[in-house]
Amino acid sequence: MAAYNTIAFHADRCDGCGDCMTACARAKTASDSPRRARLQVLADGAGSFGLAMCRQCADPECVPNCPAAALRKNTETGIIEWDQAKCVNCLLCTVGCSYAGIVLDEVAGHVVKCDQCGGDPACVRTCGNGALEYLSTARIYNEVGALEDLFVPGLAGCQGCNTELLMRHTLRRVGPDTVLAAPPGCVPGMGAVGYNGMTGTKVPVFHPLLTNTAAMLAGVKRVYKRKGREVTALALAGDGGAADVGFQSLSGAAERGEEMLFLVIDNEGYMNTGMQRSSCTPYGAWTTTTPVGRESLGKSQDAKNLPLLMVGHRCAYVATASTAFMTDFYAKLDNALQASKRGFAYLHVYSPCTTGWRFPPRKNIEVARKAVESNFVVLWEYTPEAGLKLTHPVDDPAPVKEYLEALGKYRHLTSEQIAHIEHHIVANVAAVKQQASAQP
């Protein structure tokens, strides 16, 4: 069973300009008449806009209402296809549709419906507000889902932790010709390296020191290269290992342009060993080494922006990602994988920690999304050729208080501390945007 691409409508970004309808009419009818478009944007009488359009239903009602077998759901593409040669123009399909997705075009004299323009919808291309979006998430299910899971079953993460998802999906995509480095942290802690002489992966895996991950991996990759074998050198590291004691070897490998994919799972601390602070722990956060009491109110320094530091190394590829935006993550993983064939690729994934950040396990993805929507973290990608580009710009961020209030590690924050964090977010976004505006 395949998954399908879809056209999503974000009502909150629609201003009703109607350009999408004109574009559709041009693409489909060689006219400019919005009335003839396959999608209809409508003022809904409640101050915003609605969309009438074929939703390419999984279990469509129009198809069984056709007496002439002129409609069918294409199980390859997901599109509900209309066959003009078979259509008898009875309009019974329109009775089945509750969305006005298949309608009579009076000029054409028959029913019409959206076919997503074969994968490049004219309406989406035209929408300048991002109100229409062509979601190709289906690719993840169809392509990546078919790839082999290269970790053993039964990894033991904390309840609600999304790192297992991240590890398994990453290694699936990177593939079997991989040598994996898993330095101390949650990744080997879950059993990725293995137990009792058995590995936890179906690819060669090793467990370097916190300090020498990038150096060891660089050496391994060079040996394979000398032997003429094409392998991907992959590191799945934590933020502590990468930003603190591991930073020297990371910086060195990046500077030398060693060909590897270095993926950092940033849970803002040494969560595996008892939730100590790292240089990626944000200001104000409670950890066991930045306690909350009479003398201390959580961490008193701001987090180091490790991915921006990597941009400073002019790596072949640097990007930030979030587990709440998996399509964005997959696109970046593909880009990083390609870049790792020619140089150092660095991918920094923000990964909320249910145990160390003190929030209910079921809220992991919600917390990750709130971090992005409040600009607490910023999603972008960088190459030396194209410079830095925001991949999910948030121009109207949600109040960061909503994000902070979701997490137990910020429960103690004073209003001064919250003001500090708000200020830091503005400064951080400004720093990223300054980098984005710089010439590559």
């Binding site: 409508l42 609605g50 009438a52 309009l91 019974l92 329109t94 509750s98 006005a100």
Partner: protein, 429 residues
């Protein structure tokens, strides 16, 4: 017990789900069952020795618009994929609920876990003196359609008995193939039950102008006989009508002749509840054969239209398979779409206005445009349109959801299509 009886019981075929019928209700039920139960054995028994097709497509086979080889709704590969045994060319003749046995016209007996009766309807032949001796056509099966199609080139004067959808479609086809056509209708207008008299007059006008069709409404046939020029119908209070082809489109009646002795309650059709269950456990009914509650007053009604068959079939299938997402039948709403001579007509809901209802009519007989909206306490009761595009599915939803139109009343009355779309796009969010 005789040895032969024992053998018969031992070899009796068993199926978890048995569906009698192979058109829209049956296929919708089969689909719904397979969404939930991939493994239960499923048998579909169709009367016609053909792949499933829709009676609604037949007028287009007659006209030649549809290729009779391309109207089939499913193919063998579909049944194979759904692991369903499709037995065509067999009719159900008897049901024994106590033993859960269904008997087919070839004498074979099937034991079922659950049975859906989706046997549809067949044409009603009016009881007119002499009718049994005259040749006539009906239009319910693909063979009927092919027979009628073969007659078109040599038909010079056709008589169509009944101005329902089948009669009107056939009259249009016959007229387009060059025949002179006379329609005889017992009631006072064409398409009774779908459109009011004013709309019906606009439709009849198009037939008379574009098709040169003669329409006699309020007309009873008192006798039929075969004459040298063909069939002669004697009319009450008028000269007789002679034609070389007679088509009977005087309505249909549920196929229920297999019910006797089954104990399944039947009025004009098989009585069902909101889950399409009949009065007998383990047996469901759906589509043209079923008589379910009306949306408007909960009285059991026949509602022999395609979308209704699809909905009832789906509900029956879901209930048979134990689909927990099932929402019961919300009641029969009469509705239809009708295209004729290049015009489009849509009717959704009841044309009978309740007391105190607000009725808005916009009519332009010259432009053949018509729009009638019936609002009952601010909610859509029915809407009827000619050459005024409407999204029938959206209107159906507004009726059955009893959506309060008061906040958008003026906009809805001015532009029902646009206002309906706007309303529904919000109701879905």
């Amino acid at each position: 017990m005789l040895k032969s009886e024992i053998t018969q019981i031992m070899v009796m075929e068993r199926t978890d789900y048995l569906i009698a019928g192979a058109s829209h209700a049956a296929l919708a039920a089969m689909h719904a069952i397979r969404l939930v139960d991939a493994d239960g054995s499923l048998t579909v028994v169709g009367r016609d020795r053909k792949l499933p097709y829709s009676p609604t497509a037949l007028p287009y086979v007659v006209s030649g618009r549809s290729d009779s080889n391309l109207v089939f709704l499913r193919d063998d590969a579909y049944f194979a994929l759904a692991r369903t045994s499709y037995r065509c060319g067999h009719a159900l003749v008897r049901v024994e609920p106590a033993n859960r046995i269904a008997e087919l016209d070839d004498g074979s007996r099937l034991q079922f876990g659950k049975l859906l009766l989706a046997t549809g309807a067949r044409p009603v032949i009016p009881s007119i003196p002499g009718f049994e001796a005259v040749p006539y056509h009906v239009l319910r099966t693909l063979d009927d359609a092919l027979r009628l199609r073969a007659e078109l080139p040599r038909t010079r004067h056709a008589i169509v008995l009944g101005a329902g959808l089948i009669g009107m479609h056939a009259a249009e086809n016959l007229s387009k193939s060059g025949a002179r056509v006379t329609i005889i209708e017992l009631q006072g207008q064409v398409l009774p039950g779908y459109f009011d008299a004013e709309a019906a007059a606009i439709i009849a006008g198009a037939f008379e102008r574009d098709g040169h069709v003669t329409i006699h409404t309020d007309t009873r046939v008192i006798a039929a006989e075969a004459g040298p020029q063909g069939v002669v119908l004697r009319l009450q209070g008028g000269p007789p009508v002679t034609g070389d082809l007679l088509l009977v489109g005087a309505g249909v009646a549920p196929v229920v002749d297999f019910l006797s002795g089954s104990g399944i309650r039947c009025d004009r059709g098989i009585l069902v509840d909101a889950s399409m269950r009949t009065s007998v456990e383990g047996i469901w009914a759906a589509g043209d054969v079923a008589q379910a509650a009306s949306f408007y007053d909960a009285r059991p009604v026949l509602n022999g239209i395609l979308p209704n068959a699809v909905e009832q079939g789906r509900i029956a299938g879901m209930d048979m398979a134990g689909d927990r997402t099932l929402q019961g039948y919300r009641g029969a709403v009469p509705l239809n779409t009708y295209s004729y001579f290049g015009r489009h007509a849509v009717s959704v809901g009841s044309a009978t206005a309740p007391p105190g209802a607000e009725i808005i009519v916009r009519s332009d007989a010259d432009a053949e445009r018509y729009l009638k909206i019936i609002l009952d306490e601010g909610r859509l009761h029915g809407i009827f349109a000619i050459n005024t595009p409407l999204d029938a599915g959206v209107m159906w939803q507004l009726v059955r959801r009893r959506t309060d139109l008061t906040p958008l009343r003026d906009r809805f009355l001015a532009q029902p299509r646009e206002a309906g779309r706007a309303l529904m796009s919000r109701l879905w969010r």
